[in-house]
């Protein structure tokens, strides 16, 4: 084994010994970092679990034009042709859904079937579902078309179907920014905790550091065990945080399942994938090692 490796092995051994000498203090510091890490891991779990749901929803905007009940039976077809003619570039397709078709579709759902049976007639209007072209620039243009069509005499109501998807996306975007800020705050917590842990360790090991310098230790040699201490704290804390998050997701998922069921859908929260967790553990370890380096350099200055 070469000298470089032996010195690193020695530093790791010293770091482990220092952790073992004060087990409760070490564990409490690790737990503080773990608990701080649980929050962004849970937030990331919510985001990564909701994102695919949002991704699967139709995001190409659809505009549904509901005609006035007084409109004749062939008005919808003529209007659809007119829209395709006048807005050919903006429209991918315009499908007419007659009031009979709509009622038939509704009756397929047993929960609606009984309610509709007691109605004297068909209360539904004719409708035109306009799928906008993918080339349409932004939601502003879709809103502009919807506003324009709303003024047509035959039209009763215009519904821009992608609005709620956009809202959900906006919420997710907000969530992503929130998560980034949260990650920044947690990074600061990790930095501060490791900085303080190493400061206490450096003060406790002042004698050993002095003796090591006396016998010819370089500053790298003095700093190295503290870097390992910081990195180990980061790695162990990340592992515990992932474990705690997984445990916390169990009751959350049970509650969420009941909520999602009431909306007729399914949603399960899961941890981010293994690669992401591994990468975040590496980032935390590096961050903790840097905090340790900063602390030991400041607190053992000759």
């Amino acid at each position: 084994m070469n000298r470089w490796l032996r010195q690193h092995r020695y530093a790791l051994k010293v770091a482990l010994r220092r952790l073992a000498v004060q087990p409760f203090s070490s564990l409490s510091n690790i737990l503080v970092v773990s608990l701080a890490l649980v929050i962004p891991i849970l937030a990331a779990s919510v985001l990564v679990s909701i994102q695919p749901v949002a991704r699967d929803l139709p995001v190409s905007p659809e505009i549904t034009l509901f005609l006035k009940p007084s409109a004749g039976p062939d008005v919808a077809g003529k209007l659809a042709d007119k829209l395709e003619r006048e807005h050919g570039e903006d429209i991918s397709q315009a499908i007419v859904v007659t009031r009979e078709q709509a009622l038939g579709k509704l009756k397929e759902n047993p929960s609606w079937g009984e309610a509709l049976a007691v109605l004297p007639g068909n209360p539904l209007p004719d409708a035109i579902i306009v799928t906008l072209a993918d080339t349409l620039q932004g939601s502003g243009q879709a809103s502009s078309l919807a506003a324009q069509w709303r003024t047509l005499d035959e039209i009763d109501t215009v519904q821009l179907d992608s609005d709620w998807v956009k809202r959900l996306e906006a919420i997710l975007r907000f969530g992503r920014i929130g998560l980034a800020i949260l990650a920044g705050v947690v990074a600061l917590v990790v930095l501060a905790t490791v900085f303080n842990t190493v400061r206490m360790q450096a003060l406790a090991q002042r004698e050993e550091i002095g003796v090591a310098r006396l016998v010819g230790a370089t500053e790298s040699f003095v700093r190295r065990p503290f870097l390992y201490l910081g990195a180990l704290t980061g790695v162990v804390a990340s592992g515990i945080a992932v474990g705690l998050s997984a445990i916390a997701l169990q009751p959350l998922n049970a509650a969420l399942a009941r909520l999602a069921q009431s909306y007729g859908t399914q949603l399960v929260l899961h941890l981010p994938d293994g690669v992401s967790l591994l990468l975040s553990t590496i980032v935390i370890a590096i961050l903790a090692a840097l905090a340790a380096r900063w602390s030991v350099t400041r607190n053992t200055r000759i």
Partner: protein, 222 residues
């Protein structure tokens, strides 16, 4: 070889601890540095050991000019200078063997080689068989010898000791001095700071006398 040329040492804007010190110690010499407490003996030894830089002047040790040496290079010089401070600075969270092995861990020596050298160093100072003891279980004289073992385990060319017999009874002190003499006989340049005139007289070695930061007397005694 150790050479001081017009060396001054002060802390901040305080008075000079050392003022215009000039001397030269040849390789293999045994030299006492004498003077009352607070005279600057310890500071002089710290400058030789590269533990502190001089405020002015030049300090040459083993052909290297310490005052111009970058801080990151000084640890490598320290490995060639065995330092025994007045307080032994032993580590009480580990046994005697691990204390002696610390300089070898610093150098990154293999476990077997380091173990052999540490055992040999302990044997040389008369501590064979006490490897597993914690320093706190040792007498004052044994602790001092353990500190010497740690200083010599790197096979230094220079050995400096600050009041190594100060807290010991006469017998223990004499045994410690004999250990230093043994190393000097095999060519290790040895400087010992002491204010014990009787001890120095009994060895009749060259003595650098320092008082109030200045050399007031340099005796060359064969």
């Amino acid at each position: 070889m150790i050479e001081f040329q017009h060396v001054f040492k002060s802390y901040g804007r305080g008075r000079n601890i050392l003022a215009d010190i000039n001397f030269r110690v040849e390789p293999g010499e045994f030299v006492f540095v004498s003077g009352p407490s607070g005279a600057g003996k310890s500071t002089l030894l710290k400058l030789i050991g590269g533990l502190e830089p001089p405020s002015r002047g030049s300090v040459h040790v083993n052909g290297h000019r310490i005052d111009r040496m970058p801080a990151r290079a000084r640890p490598y010089l320290r490995r060639a200078v065995g330092v025994i401070l007045q307080d032994t600075h032993l580590l009480y969270d580990r046994n005697a063997m691990d204390n002696v092995m610390l300089p070898l861990d610093v150098m990154g020596l293999g476990a077997r080689q380091a173990g052999n050298r540490a055992r040999a160093a302990m044997e040389k100072v008369g501590l064979a068989g006490k490897e597993d003891l914690n320093p706190v279980e040792m007498s004052g004289g044994e602790q001092q010898r353990l500190a010497i073992a740690r200083a010599i385990v790197n096979r230094p060319t220079i050995l400096i000791a600050d009041e190594p017999t100060a807290n010991l009874d006469q017998d223990s002190g004499r045994r410690i001095m004999e250990v230093f003499r043994d190393f000097n006989r095999v060519g290790v340049t040895t400087l010992i700071a002491s204010h014990d005139k009787a001890l120095m007289a009994s060895y009749a070695m060259r003595t650098l006398r320092i008082d109030g930061g200045r050399f007031s007397d340099i005796q060359g005694v064969a």
